[in-house]
């Protein structure tokens, strides 16, 4: 009885200590948090690192879990009081329905323990922390002990076997936990003292522990072990010794871990310590019980079950923290290794943190050169005002993207950079600063400038070329005029002397002059596509085709051709006269290259594709061999030298279509007709032209017209 009293008083004191600690704990926590805040502010103005942020997080965590901790701790004194009361009352009566203990033990002790043991094993494998290994072994012992004890409460074991196994398991478990506590307190947290690899260690330890329990079970069943309890009277001396030691060890371990928690604030240690305390309390109840299954015994069991739950919480928290840390690590490595310069600044612009790229971009080699300084030191003075404006905007909008500034390196060299910024906020949504991402765009700008230069050069060259073609064709016309003039004069004034041969020669001269004129006209036209483009209008293609059909009626009839228009055809936005030229040329071509063997059939249709229209003009004529499919679009190229025409038609079509941002191509086989395709974008956008005639329309110049004109008449094309 004395022993009992001493133990319970010791217990009580101890628990008052932990209970009291919890009060002190809270007060200390509060004080600490104020201090931390001061320290934080201090550090902020000097420049603080990411770790500070972490501490802030921990502080918040403690603040929010304080009520939870209060409850968790409060359970312990509650149990102690209950047990003390029950001990004094000494209620006789056993409540031990069969299988109940088994079920409860299995659930709360065994299953829980096995779960805890496996998570512990995982934690140990990941982090090599000895505490976990020992914890795992400890709970494994307890767990298996509880399981087996539960099985054997009835025959063939009986209450003594139950107690023997359970208590011995408890003692062994306590030894493990205590070892763990001692090592942790001594600062030995890593497993480097173990020779073996982690996996091997676990493989050895866990089954080893289980093997021991098995042996224990067998021994106990055989009666090899002296009794621990006499049902109805109470525990034997041996029983008391074993249990007492176990309780003491659990208690000590609990204290040690609570002390560790004060220092390091690791949540795991908090819950572990409480768990151990609960188990200690529970075991002491078992110590006091006279019969297995008495109310006090049940109180003890409950305490242990709760302890198991606390253990589960402890390892789960560590497990989750571990995962959090991994993702934190990922984030940190992303931050550190990002090629973009990331800088974290506070509301005053002082640099709190930055990554390696941010150092590089500023020409600095270490963080000391940057942390604590104001970000504006690295921005050119001329951009300061703009930068402030942008920051203000960032506050309003939350983020701001891609603004160009002139940055300064540590040595004052200027370079262009693109910045994006966003606001950082605290848990209440108040802005605390900014994250600024900068990218050095010197190269980019250089490339841009180069591109602009090249484009300008290209356009200049194009203009030059077009103007050249224009001039040349112009200059070529003058002699043609003379040729024609003189040959006509020759014919008029000397046609008597000329005779038939002479007349024929003159006629050939004039025919060739006309041919050359046509060539030049086409060339001029070609050169003019880029220079003079008429107004864009909405063209009903069907109407346009009907017009062309009428114009070419004579040729079509002569060729015996049938023109089929596949309706519906869309309304396109383009230069009307140019479109006219395109269709007219394509149809004319079809007529020119018809086959003798069959009546010509020309089909004009359109297919709507995504973003553009694909027109086709298909014929059943003589076709074009694949090797010529590119050639035919080149100016002056004619596949059939006998053919009439200038060989410019398709070149003109190509230029017009490409000017409208479309493509033209042919599908054909020799002897099997040809299909000319061309595309027009849905919203016709003309390429940039040097000149655009706003009010006058360019039309094909067949022959120059000469009519007397006065001021009010506009010239007709």
């Amino acid at each position: 009885m004395l022993f009992l009293l001493v133990m319970s008083i010791v217990e009580w004191h101890r628990n008052r200590f932990t209970g009291g600690d919890s009060m002190k704990d809270k007060r200390k926590t509060k004080a600490q948090s104020i201090l931390d805040m001061e320290k934080e502010k201090d550090r902020e103005s000097r420049g603080v690192t990411m770790e500070g942020g972490e501490q802030m997080e921990k502080r918040d965590a403690v603040k929010t879990t304080a009520p939870l901790h209060f409850i968790a701790q409060g359970v312990i004194p509650a149990f102690i009081v209950t047990i003390a009361v029950l001990a004094i009352l000494d209620i006789k009566g056993v409540f031990e329905p069969p299988l109940l203990l088994f079920i409860l033990n299995t659930l709360f002790i065994s299953v829980m323990s096995f779960v805890v043991a496996s998570i512990s094993a995982r934690n140990y494998l990941k982090r090599g922390s000895l505490s976990f290994l020992l914890l795992g072994c400890g709970v494994l012992v307890l767990g298996s002990g509880g399981l087996v004890a539960g099985w054997l409460i009835g025959p063939p074991g009986g209450p003594n076997v139950n107690v023997t196994i359970y208590d011995t398991g408890a003692l062994l478990g306590a030894v493990f936990h205590a070892t763990g506590a001692i090592f942790a307190s001594a600062g030995v947290t890593s497993d480097r003292i173990l020779v073996l690899k982690r996996k091997s260690t676990v493989i050895l330890a866990y089954p080893g522990v289980l093997a021991f329990m098995a042996l224990l079970t067998i021994a106990s069943l055989r009666g090899a072990i002296p009794p621990y309890i006499i049902q109805g009277i109470g525990p034997t001396l041996l029983g008391r010794a074993v249990l007492g030691t176990a309780v003491a060890l659990f208690g000590i371990s609990s204290l040690l871990f609570m002390r560790l928690y004060f220092k390091s604030k690791e949540t795991f240690q908090y819950w572990y310590s409480l768990a151990l305390a609960l188990i200690a309390v529970g075991l002491s109840a078992v110590f006091l019980q006279k019969a297995v299954g008495s109310p006090i015994g049940w109180a003890g069991r409950s305490a242990q079950y709760l302890g198991g739950i606390y253990l589960l919480i402890a390892v789960l928290i560590t497990y989750m923290e571990g995962r959090l840390r991994i993702s934190e690590e990922k984030l940190r490595s992303v931050f550190a290794s990002s090629p973009d310069a990331i800088t974290v600044i506070n509301l005053n612009g002082n640099i709190l943190e930055c990554n390696q790229s941010a150092l590089d971009i500023r020409g600095c080699s270490s963080k000391d050169e940057v942390l604590g300084k104001n970000a504006f030191e690295f921005i050119a003075k001329k951009d300061h005002e703009r930068a402030v404006e942008s920051l203000k905007k960032t506050l309003e909008q939350g983020s701001v993207k891609d603004i160009e500034y002139t940055f300064l390196t540590k040595d004052g060299c200027e370079f262009p950079a693109e910045l994006s910024a966003s606001v950082t906020k605290d848990a209440y949504g108040n802005p605390t600063g900014f994250v600024v991402i900068a990218r050095d765009i010197t190269e980019h700008k250089r490339a841009e400038e180069e591109q602009e230069r090249l484009l300008a050069e290209l356009e200049a060259k194009n203009k030059e070329l077009e103007s050249f073609v224009y001039t040349v064709s112009h200059d070529l016309k003058a002699p043609l005029i003379s040729l024609n003039g003189f040959s006509s004069a020759l014919q008029e004034e000397f046609h008597h002397q000329l005779g038939e041969e002479g007349k024929h020669y003159v006629e050939r001269i004039q025919a060739n002059v006309a041919h050359m004129d046509a060539l030049i006209m086409h060339l001029l036209d070609l050169s003019r596509i880029g220079r003079v483009v008429g107004p864009i209008e909405e063209i009903d293609v069907v109407t346009l085709l009907r017009e062309i059909q009428e114009e070419l009626a004579v040729e079509l009839e002569e060729a015996g051709a049938e023109l089929v228009v596949q309706e519906p055809l869309p309304i396109v936005r383009a230069d009307r006269s140019r479109m006219h030229q395109v269709f007219a040329n394509l149809i004319d071509n079809a007529v020119k290259f018809r086959s003798e063997e069959r009546p010509l059939r020309i089909e004009v249709g359109c297919q709507k594709e995504r973003g553009f229209y694909r027109f086709h003009v298909a014929d059943n004529g003589i076709g074009i061999a694949p090797q010529y499919h590119q050639q035919i679009f080149a100016p002056f190229r004619q596949l059939d030298p006998e053919a009439q025409g200038v060989g410019m038609g398709l070149a003109l079509v190509k230029k017009i279509v490409e000017h409208h941002s479309g493509r033209v191509w042919v599908e054909s086989e020799e002897g099997e007709g040809a299909t000319l395709y061309f595309t027009l974008p849905e919203s016709a956008e003309l390429k940039r032209s040097a000149e655009t005639s706003a009010s006058l329309r360019a039309g094909p110049q067949a022959e120059g017209s000469a009519e007397p004109l006065n001021r009010s008449q506009k010239p007709k094309g």
Binding site: Y470, H474, K477, A478, P479, L480, I481, S482, N484, G485, F486, S488, A489, V513, A514, D517, L524, V532, E691, S693, L696, A698, Q701, E703, G704, S705, A706, E707, P708, L709, N710, R711, P715, G717
Partner: protein, 143 residues
């Protein structure tokens, strides 16, 4: 009105074209009154009666080619139209192409007409004849 006494200034640098134009005008009895200069500078000298053209008569009509050496046809046109004494004189631009830009320019500078020298000489003849008729007969010219 006596058509014989009408003075016409032809500003054309291409000798072949000059010949052809003169031929047409001869066929229509205007040859002896056509004065030919071959560049823009001389055209202005003629009109302002400068240098060797001190005794030049005032032409009643100017046929002006657009493409000229030294002083461009359009430039000559501008100068003529800028001068209070000359600007009432009708100017007909001759050119090888009906390029719109040129048309617009000549109209905004005050040309009275614009003829494209066609390859078909009959057309050309008709054109010149029409000019003659139009300006000399239909219009009442200030004397």
């Amino acid at each position: 009105m006596d058509l014989q006494s009408v003075n016409i200034l032809l500003v054309e640098d291409n000798p072949d074209h000059v010949e052809l134009i003169l031929r047409t005008l001869r066929d229509n009895n205007l040859l002896n009154q056509v004065h030919v200069v071959t560049n823009g500078e001389e055209a202005l000298d003629f009109l302002y009666r400068r240098g060797k053209y001190a005794d030049a008569p005032r032409p009643v009509l100017t046929l002006l080619d657009i493409k000229l050496p030294r002083v461009d046809g359009i430039e000559v046109l501008k100068r003529i139209k800028a001068d209070p004494e000359l600007k009432s004189m009708p100017v007909v631009m001759l050119t090888t192409s009906a390029d719109e830009q040129e048309i617009v320019e000549s109209y905004s500078c005050g040309a009275n007409s614009y003829i494209v020298k066609p390859l078909d000489f009959d057309q050309f003849v008709k054109a010149i004849k029409a000019v003659k008729l139009y300006w000399l007969v239909i219009n009442s010219l200030p004397t």
